[in-house]
Amino acid sequence: MFREIADSVPAMIAVYNIKTEEYVYVNRAIKKLLGYTPSDFTKKGLKFVSSLVHPDDMSRLLLENSKALREANKKRHSSDRNPIVSFEYRMKHKNGTYRWLHTDGSVFFRDEKGKVESVLNASLDITGRKEIEEKYKKIAEELEERIAERTKTLEQSEKKFRALVEKSWEVVALVDRSAKILYATPSMIRLFGRDYKEFLGMSGIKFIHPFDVPLVLKTLARLILKPKSSETLELRVRHKDGSYKWIEATGTNLLNEPEVGAIVVNFRDITERRKAAEELLESEERLRIATEAGQIGIWDWDIVNNRITWSDRLFEIYGISKEDFSGTVEEYLKTIHPQDVKYVNSLIKKCLEGKAEYKVEYRAFGKGGSLIWISAQAKVIFDSKGKPLRMLGACFDITARKEQEQRKDDFIALASHELKTPVTSLKLFTQSLNKRFKKQKDHELGGYLSAMDRQIGKLVNLIDDLLDVSHVRSGKTNYKMEQFSFSDLAREVSQNIGSIAKKHKIIIKDRSKSDVVADKERISQVLTNLINNAIKYSPKSNKVIVSFEKDTRSLIVSVRDFGIGISEDDQERVFDRFFQAANPKRNTFSGLGLGLYISKEIIDRHGGKIWLESKEGKGSTFYFTIPNKRN
């Protein structure tokens, strides 16, 4: 009956006698589970069965078995049939593979003393379950590993993020729906000059420029209405020192996010950018007005990418089609006359270093390669670190003006030249006649002829001035450098002038040796000019002081008068061409207004300097230097 039942169950049933170490009974299920026949177990006994147990499971099996038996023997008279032990282990199938078995062991028979004599083991094949378990275990392990890895990465990135948030210029703040500050990163201090802790619990609105408050409130209201939405705006915030800084702020509504429960505001300082943009806007506006007003071509050089953008007018001026212009600075320099390109290029370099102002006139090639004159001005825009970003410029075709100037200069040269011929005759006639009258002792007529000669002298000076101006402009004047005593020259000049201007005394104060290397006639011209001016503009005074002194670098000459002086406004302009000091009674002072202009040109050509000090009503002192040079 037992056997029948036992054979019909899918579990392997084995009865094992502990004392004899024999298998008393094994059901047929053994075939299915381990591929053996029941007699394989009953005949071969424990030794054989033990050899089938997986070596890794053996010790555990024995340990648990003996422990279970000890327990069971303690309850001597129990008739409990419940399993005293259950374990899972592997046994080798006849085909060589290991099968996982789940075995429940229970007391089958006790001896007369109540000790367990035999046990009944019921075993189920759990290989399938075990495999799945193994698989899951592996997956679980892998998952754990991955989680561990991910956790590590997360920790790292969180660290990074924290560092980023707390140390970066970017500020992160959490505010509630009333803009009260709940949290802010320490970088706040850079923008506001206050520690972030000072902000906690305060309304952010307090730090916003009054002009920007309405916009901020409006934006905030819009933001609150839409969870998860973001809004970005530029506004001004107040630094502790009272100054305002421009920031770009982005608010994100995370009020409904349980982890955040706030509006997250990111912002950063854009003051420099705003400033540059404002300047740009201003200059662009100015340029636009200027362009419309005066046919000016504008260009915009993106220095970082070396790209030049030309306005239409520039393409017209240079006669280049848009397709033919590559837009690099090199291409632009090609439009400039070879003799001027070096200068323009070096000026650009200086401007990019912030050392010069771009204001220049140069020759260039226009339509069909014709020579044109360009007047150009530009401004360099630097970033906050002083790196040049853009150069914005305006070009104006001044060819017509230059041609007119040239024609005028040509005319002046020609006219003064043509004037010289009759003056030469006039002078010769006058002086010859004077000689004759003197021989004949006719002093009256001789005196008139002397006066006539002086007037001719003035005429000659005017013509010389005109000729000088035109020569100066065309750079034709040749200089004859020679060594001479400035002291001697000064006395010569003052004698010549003194013979005509009797009222003023010309006082010469020489404080040192005065040998110079210069064009004697030109320097004489400058000194004559300055002394004549000093006399001309000091009608109520009676002296002019000429002094000079030599230092290691140059001879410094000064001509001082005690006359009407020159107003501050005029002081800058006295060296301009055709300038004459303004006087309430105009035309009081004669002359073409060329003297100082020519003097400046002469001194410039010598490498010297010319300047003045003056006080209205007190008089003026003109200075010039002649650099020391060896002959």
Partner: protein, 120 residues
């Protein structure tokens, strides 16, 4: 009496020079010219000094100067070049002129230059 030949394309200059030089005691010949046959005329006059304007219409004074200096019969005659243009001085010397005087000039300046250069 020393003889001076003045060559210019401006009649006013020639008249003034005549008066000046005669007053100073020289014998004066003047030559108004469009640049032609100058060499021939200089040979005919055979002066002790030539005062030559640098820019004569038609022919540059420079070429006349060079030519006069290269001819055997005229090569020794001193030439004083005049011009209203100061930069001509260098060119005049290059052309073989003995001296240069810039217009307009004072009588004394002119007479000094003549004294310095005239054939004795």
């Amino acid at each position: 009496m020393k003889k001076i030949l003045v060559i210019d394309d401006d009649e006013g200059i020639l008249e003034a020079m005549r008066l000046t030089l005669v007053t100073a005691g020289y014998s004066v010949e003047t030559l108004i010219t469009d640049g032609k046959d100058i060499i021939k005329k200089v040979k005919n006059v055979s002066p002790d000094l030539v005062i030559l304007d640098y820019l004569l219409s038609g022919q540059e004074g420079k070429n006349i100067c060079k030519q006069l200096k290269s001819e055997r019969s005229t090569g020794k005659i001193p030439i004083l070049i005049t011009s209203a243009h100061p930069n001509v001085e260098k060119l005049a010397v290059e052309a073989g002129a003995d001296d240069f005087i810039e217009k307009p000039f004072d009588i004394d300046e002119l007479l000094n230059k003549i004294k310095k250069n005239i054939l004795l």
